[in-house]
Symmetry: C2
Subunit: 348 residues, 2 copies
DNA sequence: CTGTTAGCGCTTTCAG
DNA sequence: CTGAAAGCGCTAACAG
């Protein structure tokens, strides 16, 4: 494995100065056609590949963006990541990716690593505890940050879904069908997302003139298994819910497992609606009624906010709330839903 | 936004030379306890964060790994990505991520970008066309590469699942239940994965003493919608299949949609087995019989191969095949499967 | 239209 | 136990 060719090699090969090579590569000043040709020939001959590291050190920017996300394999974040990568690439930026696992210390490490690598800007889905670790650290650094998915009371750009209203809508929908005991499987505590959805749940109940029974709110830690346990707790209540709202995708799976554990049918025995859509939502019987997040828009917006700030560092922080879509399907058990007789036999 | 503190600032603050600061930071030679303390104090005071860019330029390595993947939002790759990130972080490496979209030109660009950023090594899930673009480019560069998921006849490290045997197993299983007309929905042409699974399909048929009818092999491009169409083609045959094998996760969803389009029930009307497992496989009726890939192992192995090569550049290329797991559930319609009466009524 | 030169922030001989 | 100084490969004045 031989050494990589450098600009000096190219310059020598083309019989010009390094400066000229740099300028033809960057189109940063006029160079005679003849010279340009010789330079490209030399580049071809040497297999030269510009060294971004050196370029970054000399110049001011790395043309890279950092993304510290709290769960790469969560399908929701996966879609956001894909959108971010796409938008970043579109604008000529490379993505540095790290998983914080919702752990404040790992998160701080990740964020520090990203800062050390001098990313031009960084996106973070802050985990509970971020305010004591990653956020103060970032505040002390001079680096553009945008918070993704979760909002925090700090003066930086932020993008995420609207959580309260859609959750309220889910609850109201259930109430409209006649449900009075509506259970909510909430996410990880300390997440703004979780708190906002709980608030939405309460709002929905109140708007429907239903009492809020605290026992009907169970915590599922935003994860599959804990949600399954939480659902069982709800079903064990003396006066159990007749309808359930699952707080996110992973927890929906947990809830469904719990229902299966007990042989309960949806929507006959209990209604179910959820936050987050699935690719297979329409393959199930019954098709799941959900609110779907605008994941691509969230991802794209995140990088747009970042790039806008790189452009104009002093602009005021923007908070962007993107509205999820209510997808009315069958699991809510509405009258206008296909009857059981036809719905119960197909795989789909 | 003030300038980032540099090593020079720290040195000045501690009243020592840059050299000393560097050495205490890297533990690369002995420094008196007293001095060490003063250096750390100065670091604290200045909020100094080492500049990895400068470090990389001066030293030889960037401590970063590149990953050019062909579809970030594919759940299978997502799991692989998560595993790669985790293993890389474990070893102190940062991940640069890019999506090639299965397009040879975008792939070449990505790979070039990664090389320019001087990643220490790079992982690639080669798309059809890679052999004409990315691969020759990489061969000309002096950079460790490992191919992920798909194998190519080139002398570099490679990791991926065993495709042939598991697919044959799926087919044989179906044949054992009595199916003679077994359809196969194959993936994107030009992918080793696709070819190997087709070969597995043929093997399975032959081992079961069943004739291979080319009409029973339909191409679904590894994607949801094309697979739906392909399935319809299969079902339109004069002598249609009584059982189907779906070539990957996305195509399984397409197949299921097609079956739903026609009101066909699994496994009563037609049996279905698939390559790739789903998180919700046990939530469905019937539970899907599949072979599950060892995604975490594949990801971890990919970075291990890379690191091993960094250690020992001249070692012979390793080809690692990881065996998927056969998960016998219900959609194959075996006798020992729960009867329709109980299976058809639950959501799960 | 092109070249010289001084850094960018760090690692690493080579010298004490 | 500690420093001075020479790069790493590139950009960007400054000069012509």
């Amino acid at each position: 494995m031989r050494r990589n060719a450098t600009m000096a090699d190219v310059a020598r090969g083309a019989g010009v100065s390094i400066t000229t090579v740099s300028h033809v590569l960057n189109g940063t000043r006029h160079v005679s056609e003849e010279t340009v040709k010789r330079v490209y020939a030399a580049i071809e001959r040497t297999g030269y590949q510009p060294n971004s590291i050196a370029r970054a050190l000399a110049g001011a920017r790395t043309h890279s963006l950092g993304l510290a996300i709290s769960g790469i394999s969560n399908p929701y974040f996966m879609d956001v990541i894909a959108a971010i990568e796409s938008e970043a690439a579109e604008h000529g930026y490379t993505l540095l990716l790290g998983d914080t696992r919702e752990e404040p210390h790992k998160e701080l490490q990740m964020v520090q690593e990203l800062v050390r690598r001098r990313v031009d800007g960084l996106m973070l889905s802050p985990s509970p505890g971020a305010e004591e670790h990653a956020i103060p650290f970032l505040a002390a650094q001079s680096i553009p940050v945008v918070l993704v998915d979760r909002f925090l009371p700090v003066a930086v750009d932020q993008v995420g879904p609207d959580n309260e209203e859609p959750t309220a809508q889910l609850v109201e929908h259930l109430a409209a069908v006649g449900h009075k005991r509506i259970g909510f499987v909430a996410g990880l505590q300390g997440l703004s997302t979780t708190e906002e959805r709980i608030r939405g749940y309460r709002d929905g109940m109140e708007r429907s003139s239903l009492p809020v029974d605290e026992l009907l709110i169970a915590y599922g830690a935003s994860r599959h298994e804990p949600a399954r346990t939480a659902t069982h707790r709800l079903l064990d209540l003396a006066d159990p819910p007749t309808a359930l709202v699952a707080g996110n995708n992973a927890m929906t799976i947990g809830v469904m497992h719990a229902l299966r554990d007990r042989g309960l049918y949806v929507p006959e025995d209990i209604a179910l609606v959820a936050f987050d859509d699935f690719e297979w939502s329409e393959l199930f019987r019954p098709h799941l009624t959900v609110v779907a997040q605008p994941t691509s828009a969230i991802g794209a917006q995140a990088v747009q906010l970042l790039l806008a700030r790189l452009d104009e560092p002093e602009r005021p922080p923007h908070l962007v709330r993107l509205r999820p879509t209510f997808l009315h399907r069958e699991s809510c058990g509405c009258a206008d839903t296909p009857a059981r007789a036809t719905a119960s036999v197909a795989i789909a």
